[in-house]
Symmetry: C2
Subunit: 460 residues, 2 copies
Amino acid sequence: MEDVKVLIDRVEKLIELDAVAELHEFINDSNISDIAELINEMPEHTLRFFNQLDFQRALAVFRILDINIQEELLKSLSSHQLVQLLNDMPPDDRTAMLSELPSHIVKDIIKQLNPEERKITLSLLGYPEESVGRLMTPDYIDVEPDWTVAQVLTYIRDYGKSSETIDVIYVTDEHGMLLDDIRIRDFLLVNPDSTYVKDLMDGRFISLHVNDDQNEVANVFQMNNRVALPVVDDRNVLIGIVTIDDVLWVVEEEHTEDIQKMGGTEALDEPYLEIPLLKLIKKRAGWLIVLFIGEMLTATAMAYFQDELSKALVLALFVPLIISSGGNTGSQASTLIIQAMALGEITVSDWWNVMRREILSGLILGSLLGFIGFIRVVFWNMIFHSYGLHTISIAYTVAFSLLGVVLWGTITGSMFPMILKKLGADPAVSSAPFVATMVDVTGLVIYFSVALLFLKGILL
Amino acid sequence: MEDVKVLIDRVEKLIELDAVAELHEFINDSNISDIAELINEMPEHTLRFFNQLDFQRALAVFRILDINIQEELLKSLSSHQLVQLLNDMPPDDRTAMLSELPSHIVKDIIKQLNPEERKITLSLLGYPEESVGRLMTPDYIDVEPDWTVAQVLTYIRDYGKSSETIDVIYVTDEHGMLLDDIRIRDFLLVNPDSTYVKDLMDGRFISLHVNDDQNEVANVFQMNNRVALPVVDDRNVLIGIVTIDDVLWVVEEEHTEDIQKMGGTEALDEPYLEIPLLKLIKKRAGWLIVLFIGEMLTATAMAYFQDELSKALVLALFVPLIISSGGNTGSQASTLIIQAMALGEITVSDWWNVMRREILSGLILGSLLGFIGFIRVVFWNMIFHSYGLHTISIAYTVAFSLLGVVLWGTITGSMFPMILKKLGADPAVSSAPFVATMVDVTGLVIYFSVALLFLKGILL
C-alpha cells in the first residue's frame, strides 16, 4: 500500500494545476482503499473524485467511506444520481448503510428506490437488527441437481454478473429448498459435459437461519472454512447468502463494543472524534453514576469503622492500597472469565472448575501481595520509625487483609460474570469496573475485621 | 447446526451397540465442525472417529481441533500415518500448527516430512512470528498475460487440485513478478477462446509484503473486499497468498490478546481451563505486583497527610469514594482512546483534539459526580447528623475534590495511552489498571489539597 501522504501531495498538486486528464488517470490507477483514504483526508473534493470513477468503482469506494461522509455525499447528489447509486448497491451493503443512517433519511432514501429494490430493502430491514437476515444478499446463483456442469457454466456466464459471489454455487430442489453448496472449483475440475450437478453433491452443507445472531456467524465461518454461507428460512428454503467479507466487519464491530463495554461505557457506535460531545458524555455518565452510587457504600462502611479509625489512625493509611489490590485482582479475574466465555472455552456449567482454580489463584496471588505488604510495613518502620511499637501487628493486619481481599477479588471477579450469564445478561457489560466497586466495599469490611483480630487489645 | 447433545447421544449409542457401519455412515454425513465438536467432547474416541473419515476430511477436522487434542493425536499416530497427515496439510495450516507446538515436538515432526515439504515448512517458519510470511501458503495458481482464457481453464483443471484457492488467479511475468490478480468469475464471464488474460487485467492489485505484520492484514482485506491477497518479497516476486479464512483466526486471536492485556494479564495463549494453574498465576502475578508496588505510593501519600487526617478524621471516610471515582473515569477514558487508536480513528497527532474533548468531558462528568457527592453529604447529615457543624464545608470539599479527580482521570486516562504509543509501546498493555493506579495516588493529593482550601481554620 502506498503512503497516504504521498498520494495526498500528488493529488493536491494535480488539483492546483487543474490537470483534469492527469487527475482522472491517477484516480483510476489507484486502489479503492487509497481513494477512500483520499476522500477521508480531503472531504471537500469528494464529488470531484467520484466523478472520475466508473460506476462499479465509485460504489466500491462509497461502501468503505466513513458513515458521515456517506451521509454528506448522499445529500450532495442529485436525486437521479442517488437513485442510480442506491439501486445498484448490493442489497446487503444497502441494508448495512441504511441501518446506520438516521430514520428520516432512510425514509427519504427508500422512497427513491425502484419498486423491486424497495421490496428487497424493506424485506431485509424487516429482520431484527443484529440478525443474519440483515447481513445477507439475495444475489446468488442456484442450480438444480439434474443440470450438467456445462449448463451450470453457461448459466453462470449469463446470470453471474449480478451475483455477489460465484465462488460458491447452491443446489436447490424445485421448491427452492437448499440441498447442497458446491464450490466453483469443483465445477472447473471436472469434465463439463459428462458430469451432472448431482455427481458433485455430497449433501454436507452448513446453513444459517435468517434469525440467527450475527455474532455467532464468525464462528461458523471459522470452523467450516467457507467464503460464503447460505441462509434459509424455517422451511429450509434458500433466501440469501452471507459472504465472509461482511463477517469480518461484524467481528471488528463486536470487538469494539466488547472493549467499550468492559471499560464501562456504552458502545459509542460512532468514531471518537466525530461523536457529538454531549452524546459522548451521556454514554459515559450512566455507568460512572451507577458506580459512584455503589462506591458511596464505602463511605458508609468507613463511617461504621470510625471508632476503630480514631483509635488507630494508622489503619487509614493502608485503605487505598488494600481496596485497590482487591479491585485490580477482581477486574483481572473478570476479564479472563468473560473472554473465556466469549470464546466458548468455559460455560456456566464449569463454574465449580473455575471457582476451584480461582480460589487457588487467589490464595497464591494474595500470599504474594501479602508478603510484599508485610515487608513494606516492617521495612518502612526500620527506616522511618513510622508505625511505632506495634509494627509487627500492623504488618500482619496488612498482610492478611491483602490475602483476604485478593482471594475475595478472584472469587467475585470470576463468579460475577458467570452469574450475569446465567441470568441471561451480557457478562461483558461493565463487569470489570462493577466487580472493582463491589470488591472495594467488601474489602473494607475484610480489612477492619482482620484489624480487630490482630489489634484487639493493642490499638483497638 | 445440529445440537451437540443430540449428536453425542446418538454416537454414544452407536459405539455402545458396536454398530460399525452405522457409525461410519453417521460420521460421514456429519459436518466437520460437528465432528470436531464430538472429538472435543469425547476425546477417548478420537482415533475411532478419524478412522471413519477419508483423508481430506480428516485433515479438515484436524485443523480445527483444540491444540492439545492435536498434540495427543499426533503422539498416537503411527509414524507412517503422521507423515501422510503432515505432508498433505496445506503449508499455512502446518506452519500455524507447528508454531503452537513445543519446540522438541516440532523438531521431531519436521524430520518426518518429505524433503520438499520440509523445505517449504522450514522456509515459512523462517519468517518472523506474527508476520504475513507465517500466514501464507505457496499453493496458488499463476498464469501469464498472453495466455487465452481457455488455456487458463485447462491449466486450472490440471493443477487446481493442490492449490488452496482458485477463487483468485494471479498474473506474473517471466521473472515471477506479480502483475495483477483476477477473480475466477472474470474468466467465467467471457468467451474463453477469444479472450486473453491481458484483456482482463486492470493493473490494480493489492499485495502484502512477506514481512508485514499479520494484524494489519485484516484491515487490508476489509477495505478491499478480497478473499485472498498475494504476498510478494522485496523484488515484488509473488511467493505466496493469504486467504481470508486465516485472517479471521488472526483477528479473533488479536481480539483475545487485546482484552486480556486491557484487563491486566499477559495474553494467556491457551484456553483458561487448560493452562496449567502455575502458568496462569505467573501470567497474572507480574502486573498485579507492579500495580501493587505503584499503589504503595498511596500509603506514602496518606502518611504525608496524617496530620490533617488526625485533625479531621471525617476526611478518611471519603478516601475510597474519591480515589475510585478518579480510577473509574480514568480507565473509561483510556479504554475509549485505546480502542479509537486501534481502529485508526485517532492518531498521536490528534492529541490536542482529544485533550480538549476530555477536559470538557471531565469538567461535566466531574460536576455531575461532585453534585451527587454534595447532596450525599448534606442529606446524610440531615438524617444521621453524621458530620456536625461543618457539613457544608465538608460537602464542598468532597464535591470539588470529585471534580478535580474526575478531570484528572479523563486527562491522564486519555493521554497516557497516547504517550505510550508515541514512545513506541503497545498502548493496550495494562493501560486501564495502570491509569487507575496513577490516578489513585494523585487523587489523594488533590483531595487533601482541596480539603486544606475549604477546611483551613475550620477543622484543619
